[in-house]
């Protein structure tokens, strides 16, 4: 394992310190906890947004703490949901009386830990609600499973729900918007190469020189299948097909697109993917209102990418375009 780290046990702690040292204007530490919150309290009272999950997805989640997005982020061990007490600290740190919304990715561990934190906060009289992001169409949604995984689409939930909270909307409204994003966003990814969890010391999976993994998760979980490496356009078309099969797009529909790098894929390749996505959507008469290309929800040094498509209506479009000022996403 080749990594620029000191010891595997310290990566999260040292990363958080490095983030605060890099962005003191944006984030500060809740002392004693793996929690970063906004450096400055919002000017007026607003619904507070907390997200989080295992570490290793940087800039998610702490990179999106700031005006127009999150109020706090909880960092678990690498790829491991944070514990309830950590989430609870974040909730306490950001609550300013209008309630707190937890944005959870749909993994058993995350859901259980965040729910336990809600129980703790409720016992304290803090109003906390939650939304669960499940945008990954690689995984069949059936009543027999716990449903789909949450992946890069989560960032669009942060962006849009964050913008809504900034308007002063109440908790129910912010939750409604967050759920609207969740209902309208679909994603799917592929990997060329695995990541290596520092504490594990070896790759989570091993692919042959010519093999790719389709529909893997962002924690090195295996995907739907493996296949031979194909040209970018074919892989892209396959992922877009899967997304559109699940969420049909009519002519004239406006969408936002997120081409998300998983950590080790050069921006050059992400743009090559975007070229095909945009072309396919344009051919279908779909209008792309906004495109993000970059590393938003990574999987350590995994090589690969995911595509997210979000159906927009006027409300979502306006909120997506609203200003944001965070370490990893600035818009104005």
């Amino acid at each position: 394992m080749k990594k620029v780290i000191n010891v595997p046990e310290q990566v999260v702690e040292e990363m958080l310190q490095g983030m605060v040292l890099a962005h003191p204007q944006y984030v500060k530490r809740v002392e004693g906890f793996e929690v970063l919150v906004r450096a400055n309290k919002p000017e007026s009272s607003k619904v507070a947004l907390v997200s989080g999950g295992g570490s290793g997805h940087e800039p998610s989640h702490a990179g999106f703490v700031g005006r127009g997005m999150l109020d706090g982020a909880v960092a678990g061990a690498v790829f491991t949901s944070p514990t309830p007490d950590q989430v609870y600290e974040a909730v306490k740190a950001v609550d300013n009386g209008k309630g707190v919304l937890l944005i959870i990715k749909n993994y058993s561990g995350d859901v259980m830990n965040f729910e336990m934190a809600i129980e703790m906060a409720n016992a304290d009289g803090i109003t906390v609600d939650k939304v669960i992001v499940n945008d990954d169409v690689a995984v069949e949604n059936s009543t027999w499973t716990i449903g789909r995984r949450g992946i890069a689409g989560t960032v669009l939930v942060h962006k849009i729900a964050g913008a809504k909270a900034e308007t002063g909307a109440d908790l129910a409204e912010v939750k409604r918007i967050a759920d609207k994003v969740i209902n309208n966003v679909r994603s799917m990814g592929m990997a060329l190469d695995s990541c290596t969890v520092p504490a594990a010391g070896k790759p989570s999976f091993v692919l042959d020189d010519n093999e790719i993994e389709i529909g893997m998760g962002i924690h090195g979980e295996p995907g739907t299948h493996r296949e031979a490496l194909r040209p970018a356009d074919e892989i892209t078309a396959h992922l877009v097909d899967k997304i559109i099969a699940d969420m049909p797009l009519v002519v004239g529909q406006e969408v936002a697109v997120l081409i998300n790098g998983l950590g080790a894929t050069p921006l050059m390749e992400l743009y090559i993917v975007n070229r095909k996505v945009a072309t396919l959507l344009q051919e279908k008469g779909v209008k792309i209102a906004k495109t993000y290309v970059g590393n938003y929800m990574t999987s350590l040094e995994m090589a690969g990418f995911s595509i997210s498509i979000l159906k927009l209506d006027d409300e979502l479009k306006e909120l997506l375009a609203a200003p944001a000022d965070t370490p990893a996403l600035v818009q104005f």
Binding site: S108, M112, I146, V197, A200
Partner: protein, 208 residues
């Protein structure tokens, strides 16, 4: 017996820590490759917390501490589940300094109920429940037959081991492995495995 339980839990902790790699490898195959790492981190934390409880005799208090520590240090799916299990097991043993077959039966039942409430899974979904529920049933059969604690736990551990074997034959429908669908078949469940090796450690501990 408080000190005895203290040692039993130390033994369980050592087993988990020394099987860190094995549990992680199992999880890498069908999950995200962190089960051993998470559990080992949890039991390292338990080790430190336990130092303050060396003279504690109340078994319930010790188990509660273990549960709370696991909840706040393991994370992932296993943290809330095992944490809840230990917390729930603490209730029937509250104030006790000795354990008999009946109490242990109640503790196992409470633990399993806690896991089911927290995780909303049932047997056959390729989780730790596939080790724990058969283990509980075997334990209770032993209890009905008036067997010793050791004999009951031996039966439980054997049933858990068979449960682990069984998880190889089924498809996961809960937990991270459920995303794999058919691809999860043929692999043994890491959580069921950690449950089994904990029980087996208790057996070996009692045999000493």
């Amino acid at each position: 017996m408080g000190g005895y339980l203290y040692e039993a839990i130390s033994a369980v902790g050592e087993t988990i820590i020394s099987n860190k790699q094995m549990l992680t490898d199992l999880d890498a195959a069908i999950g995200d490759g962190d089960h051993g790492i998470n559990m080992a981190r949890g039991f390292e934390a338990v080790k430190i917390k336990m130092q303050a409880l060396e003279t504690e005799n109340d078994i319930g208090k010790i188990l509660k501490m273990v549960g709370m520590t696991l909840i706040s240090s393991v994370g992932g799916a296993a943290g809330p589940l095992y944490g809840t299990a230990f917390l729930r097991a603490a209730a029937p043993s509250q104030g006790k300094t000795q354990l008999d077959v009946e109490t242990i039966g109640l503790m196992l039942e409470a633990a399993i109920t806690g896991i089911k409430e927290r995780g909303k899974a049932t047997r056959g979904e390729k989780t730790m429940l596939d080790a724990l529920e058969p283990a509980y049933e075997a334990f209770m059969e032993g209890a009905k037959a008036d067997k010793s604690v050791l004999a009951c736990l031996e039966a439980a551990s054997e049933a858990a081991q068979q449960g682990v074997e069984f998880t190889k034959t089924i498809v996961a429908t809960k937990g991270r492995a459920s995303y794999l669908g058919e691809r999860s078949r043929g692999h043994q469940d890491p959580g069921a495995t950690s449950s089994y090796i904990m029980l087996q450690t208790l057996v070996e501990f009692l045999r000493r």
